[in-house]
Symmetry: C2
Subunit: 540 residues, 2 copies
């Protein structure tokens, strides 16, 4: 385990007339002798006096603080006593939300956690509107000086830096250390967020042929961005591999461990996009598709992100038709998050309130009296459209009923079809079957809350034993923590980037065919979902 | 010839949907293919957008500007057309005076030259008073925070940076380029000046055991010092090897070529100290001694630095006793610079006005009537001491006669003895004779103006054929120019530093003995100076 900042014990003899080696030369010579790794050693300009003074004051014996940079060791401090804490900050730089951990590089333990809304949201909630804001002048003028920077881009960068500084202050306070003693920062974000974080022109990211300005940025110190942490803190920015495949997913692959095992695994990360990776230590193949919104709660009219008041769990007893649901924070329901939506649609299918096309069935054709009563109570025509009322909560002040409309159902079916088609295309691309997968790792809030059984019922996830599915949580943040703690993780990022193949689905014919086939519950080919009951029209 | 900033032609294909490599990755890949040297390539943070934009705007084909750094190439610009000028500034950072050259890295030609007084002079004329000013607080308080910086040190650094910026502006104006297009800076100065330039604590430089804080500083960009030139201009700071052996001398060794030849040479650089190096491509030995002041004009009461009004040349006809002299600028004489002083003392010896001990002879014992007349005219008692009046110029407004006092003569003898003892000790240390020297290279203003014949007469320089002596001019500046233009020169600096042995004369017994033996004209052992006439007492 070689952390991104190491503490190395140094013993050197004091200078004499017959040994008048310069202080920093003396220190670097002693360090080279201790490290024995042949790596270049240097002291950054801003630390020359403080390192030499620390070395002198400690009597030429003590503990050097070393940044492990790509091109060698950089000595950034010298202490007389071994520090018990060397703090470093891992950051998941989400489009809407930031999550951060402060880890102690001396023992790998978590010192503090914190999270915050991304302050860029005031310039637009999604990536496209951010890029738009950051390229206003560039869009109007075709030729401008190479070093011109849009004012909007500065605003976006300052907003995110302010958020990160707030998080850093909060972490430092919780851990009871000065914020300047946060000695490294790893950043895991999508390609656009990484561009905006560095204040780098995002103009070509969203324009065909969708070219990032960079995928890899090394050798940057926190001071260059005016971050509140130690100015010589090295930034480890997770590399990306394209406009639509960012460092957050590289981080997720790292955290999942899939690139360290010979067994083939699949990683599903549903955020704004659905990003899927398949592979093992030999090969990796990835793709991303716009399957996300419905699953993140962005499609249904009553959809919402997982937060207080969001219905995250729904079940309907297929005998008694009793509805059970649970909201986040155990408060009155105000909407449906992704997992609640999946549960609900699966339950509606299993109770035969919707058919295999995802359409509300006609109560008039219903023969079962209990189901008929249930449908009469919950299905209502609102405007021209049928909808299902999950929670009758409109009696309270200003509150609305939580409803699912036909239009939401249609969007949900499209989303789940896209998701399954992505997964199917990916495995087919490498000539394997779902059954050969050692694991299906489901990342993020989606992975944490989703009930795989319901997702299988819908035909969104493949029909595998439930033990195959492993929720992993915020893998983007976990990967960011790993690179701080271990050089092997930093090197693995490079290996992941170099071994990954990106499958472009926008021009993939097979994907389009599979997408059409998946627009039924669970699928046009029920043999793909043996565990899911199939209801013929006559069942109703 | 690999300049410190190179221009490299790049041809890359434009991005397509099927080749969505990020702009900077595309550029670095194309560059790696062109360079084929396996060196790491990177783009500094501050240049990411401008380099990528330049690359795009040029249609992915054009000319990359690359800094050649110790740890690889750094891409700092991209131009559509090949630039005819890539300007870099070489600086001789003297304690009293700065000299600078602007060179065109594209063809090695000089674009402009400029010089300026060191603005630090207002804080003290010599190195010790500067260190004193820069360490006022540190001297009073034994323990202060490692990153504390004396206000005086900041003042000194700002003063020198201001001077350098003025020089840079002047050079840029003369060359008709924006100052921001000066793309590299090499700095050659003594160890103290280099510390003050970087604002690095000079406290231990002048205190036993005389330890520099650093000898080598790499990886610094002009922007880190707020210099007016390009902020990403790399600084090449000549490495030093000790408090009293600085980068200016390493630069001189480089410029002399002595470390590139198998033949053994000696380099003499007389500034504030006399610094002497002996050696060849196999080995180098160096020492420094306080032999300088007399020779720089700092000892004699009428001594002065080489400047307008300084008598730089003196001859006295040994038959007619006619005095001939020449002043710098051909104006009325106001004092004597080093070369004039040496000429004068040698002439006084050859005309037997002084004896082998450097004492004025008694006119009363003189038998030669012409010499007697000459002595009566020029030798006068002023106060208790005899002195020689070189120029009777006291008749003009406020002007004084230019005189040489006995006390000046004594100091001169000590200085020349120290100089010869240094040279002798050095050759003896490696077991060779002066006659084996291929060349004696004399650097600086001293080398430019001195008449070696007179220095030999005094026993200051060894009695070698005059063709052995080669004046080299400002070798510190020349070396600084060389490192900008050629990687071999940059590497040679490292070789010089690692192959040099420093001989400490303060504790050298042999030196003290040789010093005593050299306190006669030309020497207690006249066989060492066969070309110099020896006058017995009876000659007079």
């Amino acid at each position: 385990m070689k952390a991104i900042v190491s503490v190395v014990h140094v013993e050197a003899s004091p200078p004499r007339l017959s040994d008048n080696t310069a202080d920093l030369d003396r220190l670097l010579q002693a360090l080279a002798g201790t490290l024995q790794d042949g790596q270049p050693l240097s002291v950054p300009y801003s630390c020359m006096t403080s390192v030499a003074r620390g070395f002198r004051d400690a009597g030429y014996t003590g503990f050097a603080l070393l940044n492990d940079l790509e091109n060698g060791w950089s000595v950034v401090g010298f202490l007389a006593e071994e520090p018990s804490v060397v703090a470093a900050m891992a950051l998941d730089l989400g489009t809407t939300h930031l999550e951060a951990t402060l880890v102690n590089l001396q023992n790998g333990k978590t010192l503090a956690v914190a999270n915050l809304e991304n302050a860029q949201i005031r310039f637009g909630s999604d990536i496209l509107s951010r890029i738009h804001h950051g390229t206003a002048v560039r869009r109007q003028q075709k030729i401008i000086a190479a070093d011109f920077q849009d004012a909007g881009l500065d605003e976006l960068q300052q907003a995110i830096l302010t958020s990160i500084n707030e998080l850093a202050e909060e972490l430092a306070q919780k851990a009871n250390i000065p914020v300047l003693e946060i000695r490294a920062l790893s950043v895991s974000g999508n390609t656009t967020m990484t561009h905006l974080f560095l204040g780098v022109d995002p103009y070509t990211l969203c324009r065909e042929p969708y070219i990032p300005l960079f995928n890899r940025a090394r050798g940057i110190e926190a001071g260059q961005l005016n971050l509140a942490i130690s100015p010589v803190a090295p930034l480890f920015i997770m590399p990306s591999i394209g406009s639509y495949f960012g460092g957050d997913l590289i981080s997720g692959i790292l955290a999942s461990g899939m690139a360290r095992s010979e067994k083939t695994r699949m990683l599903i990360d549903v955020g704004t996009n659905a990003e899927v990776v398949l592979g093992n230590s030999e090969w990796l193949i990835a793709c991303a598709g716009a399957a996300g919104p419905a699953l993140e709660g962005g499609v249904a009219r009553m959809g919402m992100r997982a937060g207080p008041g969001a219905i995250e769990y729904v079940a309907i007893d297929s005998q008694t038709f009793v509805i059970e649901y649970r909201t986040i924070g155990d408060v009155a329901p105000i909407g449906l998050c992704g997992s609640g939506l999946i549960d609900l649609v699966a339950a509606l299918y299993l109770t035969q309130v919707i058919d295999i096309r995802g359409k509300f069935r006609e109560p008039s054709t219903e023969k079962d009296p209990k189901r008929l009563a249930f449908m009469k109570k919950h299905l209502q025509l609102r405007g021209d459209d049928m909808c299902f009322i999950l929670a009758f909560t409109s009696d309270r002040d200003g509150a609305e009923d939580v409803v699912l409309e036909q239009i939401d159902l249609d969007a949900m079916i499209r989303s789940k079809a896209a998701m399954y088609a992505v997964l199917r295309t990916l495995v087919s691309q490498v000539g394997i079957h779902f059954e050969e997968l050692e694991e299906v790792i489901v990342a993020g809030a989606f992975g944490r809350h989703i009930n795989p059984e319901c997702a299988i019922t819908l035909g969104m996830l493949p029909d595998l034993p439930l033990s195959t599915f492993r929720p992993i949580g915020n893998s983007s943040l976990q990967g960011a923590e790993m690179v701080l703690l271990d050089e092997k993780a930093r090197l693995e990022c490079e290996q992941i980037v170099s071994s990954i193949t990106y499958l472009e689905l926008n021009v993939n014919q097979e994907f389009m065919i599979r997408f059409s086939g998946a627009r039924f519950i669970p699928h046009t080919d029920p043999s793909l979902f043996p565990s899911v009951p199939i209801f013929s029209q006559s069942d109703s």
